[in-house]
């Protein structure tokens, strides 16, 4: 009898320990990529293509006030003429999933951001690597390992190979459970799942495709008059020929600007995504900037 009870206890203990090990830590990481202007104002890229964005809870939480504050502080501290957000990404990281890679294409240049949460996840310890790369090779723009207090925003500034200042802000919003209650709506995991069915996601080793034919978005007159500005982030799905076949708004800048972005992107053509010599539908992210001059 006592043996049976002991066996039950041991089995219970093993199951408990197993569950402890299986229950992985999950983090939501908000990443923003800025370009700074030192001297004469430069025309910033209106369109940025980047890796596929997985759904996160925090992506649905409005953070405009935080963005404005970040831009203001970067401009003030680094004495810049202007600071523009190139793109932002909400990246989910699950324990055991290794590094997160996010590739950004703008103006024919490629920036690869690699984020590795390290073993001391409880301390929010990360390694960030930023590379500027092209067909000839890649150059390291930044490689750092740091510990970030919870709730803080770390902003790293560096220069690209041409000496232009760029800034990368990183905020860890904690595990999903902690922010569940703050969800206000938006794109759900089911929407993304439905949207991406049967297509390859541009992530990790799979780069987002190159844009072959581009039609610039038209700034809606009504939005111009109302001085509405902002960025629209969209998930784009291309077919086997590289034509845009479906679009999902991930970050809205209002119905007028969203529609203007969609109307333009629908006319774009990307290079077909070949996997083992066979063309495939692919999903990636496009950021469209609407900024009044």
């Amino acid at each position: 009898m006592i043996k049976k009870k002991l066996i039950i206890i041991i089995i219970f203990f093993i199951a408990f320990a197993f569950l402890c090990l299986q229950a992985a830590v999950r983090l939501d990481i908000k990443l923003r990529f800025y370009e700074g202007t030192r001297g004469v104002a430069v025309e910033l890229p209106q369109i940025v293509t980047s890796s596929f964005l997985h759904p996160t809870v925090t992506a649905n939480i409005p953070s405009e006030a935080e963005l404005i504050e970040e831009k203001k502080q970067i401009q003030r501290i680094f004495n810049l003429l202007d600071v523009s957000l190139i793109t932002e990404a909400d990246l989910p990281w699950a324990e055991g999933s290794g590094k997160i890679s996010h590739l950004i294409r703008l103006d024919g240049k490629e920036y690869l951001i690699s984020l590795t949460p390290l073993y001391q996840v409880r301390k929010n310890q990360f390694r960030i690597e930023v590379f500027e790369q092209n067909d000839k090779g890649k150059n390291s723009l930044l490689d750092t390992e740091f510990i970030q207090p919870k709730g803080n925003i770390a902003v790293f500034g560096f220069e690209d190979m041409q000496g232009n200042p760029y800034f990368l802000s990183l905020r860890v919003t904690g595990s999903l459970k902690e922010v569940e209650t703050a969800v206000t709506g938006g794109v759900t995991a089911e929407d993304i799942e439905e949207f991406s069915r049967g297509a390859i996601k541009a992530e990790g080793e799979v780069k987002p495709p190159r844009l072959i034919k581009k039609v610039n978005p038209v700034y809606p007159e009504e939005a111009r008059k109302a001085e509405v500005q902002g960025i629209v982030i969209l998930s784009v799905r291309t077919d086997t020929y590289g034509r845009v076949e479906d679009i999902l708004v991930r970050k809205s800048a209002g119905p007028l600007l969203d529609q203007a972005a969609i109307d333009a992107i629908r006319q774009w053509i990307y290079e077909p995504m070949l996997v083992n010599g066979k063309p495939n539908p692919v999903i990636f992210t496009v950021t469209v900037h609407f900024k009044l001059k």
Partner: protein
């Protein structure tokens, strides 16, 4: 003078100590109620045999004790077993908790174990260490780090 309830209680404590046996027999000899409840004092006489008296009767007392003790042994074994199970469960729970805390110390704490200070372990640009500046605005949750390549002149100066 002890009362009937006490007698009943003392019965449950058999085997009795010498003084307990004396009080018991003293009561039984005088209490008509107890005497009535019993068939006769003679019939229960064997129950009042003192430990000391049994020394002269080798084998009997150990036999009685063994018989009386069986229940106790069983009872104490049950308690001991329960104690062992409780102890083992406690140890296992403590072990599991230790594993939990050792592997994921931050899981259940929102801020206590988290890093309270921003810390950079290293910072590089290109293939070498970078010249870095760190700035934290007053009353802000933002930390700014600027990293730039060390120029050759500076390297020579060093």
């Amino acid at each position: 003078m002890i009362k009937c309830k006490v007698v009943n209680f003392l019965f449950s404590l058999i085997p009795l100590k010498r003084w307990q046996g004396f009080l018991l027999s003293h009561h039984l000899q005088r209490c008509p109620l107890c005497q009535k409840n019993m068939a006769s004092a003679e019939q229960v006489k064997s129950l009042f045999i003192q430990e000391g008296d049994m020394e002269s009767v080798p084998g009997l007392w150990p036999a009685i004790r063994m018989k009386l003790g069986e229940g106790r042994v069983k009872k104490s074994f049950g308690l001991r077993r329960l104690a062992w199970i409780a102890g083992a469960a406690g140890l296992l729970a403590a072990g599991a908790a230790s594993i939990w805390l050792f592997i994921y110390p931050g899981r259940n704490s929102s801020s206590g174990r988290l890093a309270e200070r921003f810390q950079i372990n290293y910072i590089r640009v290109g293939s070498g260490p970078a010249r870095a500046c760190i700035f934290k605005p007053y009353e802000s949750n933002m930390i700014f780090v600027w990293a730039e390549r060390e120029t050759k002149e500076e390297e020579n100066d060093d």
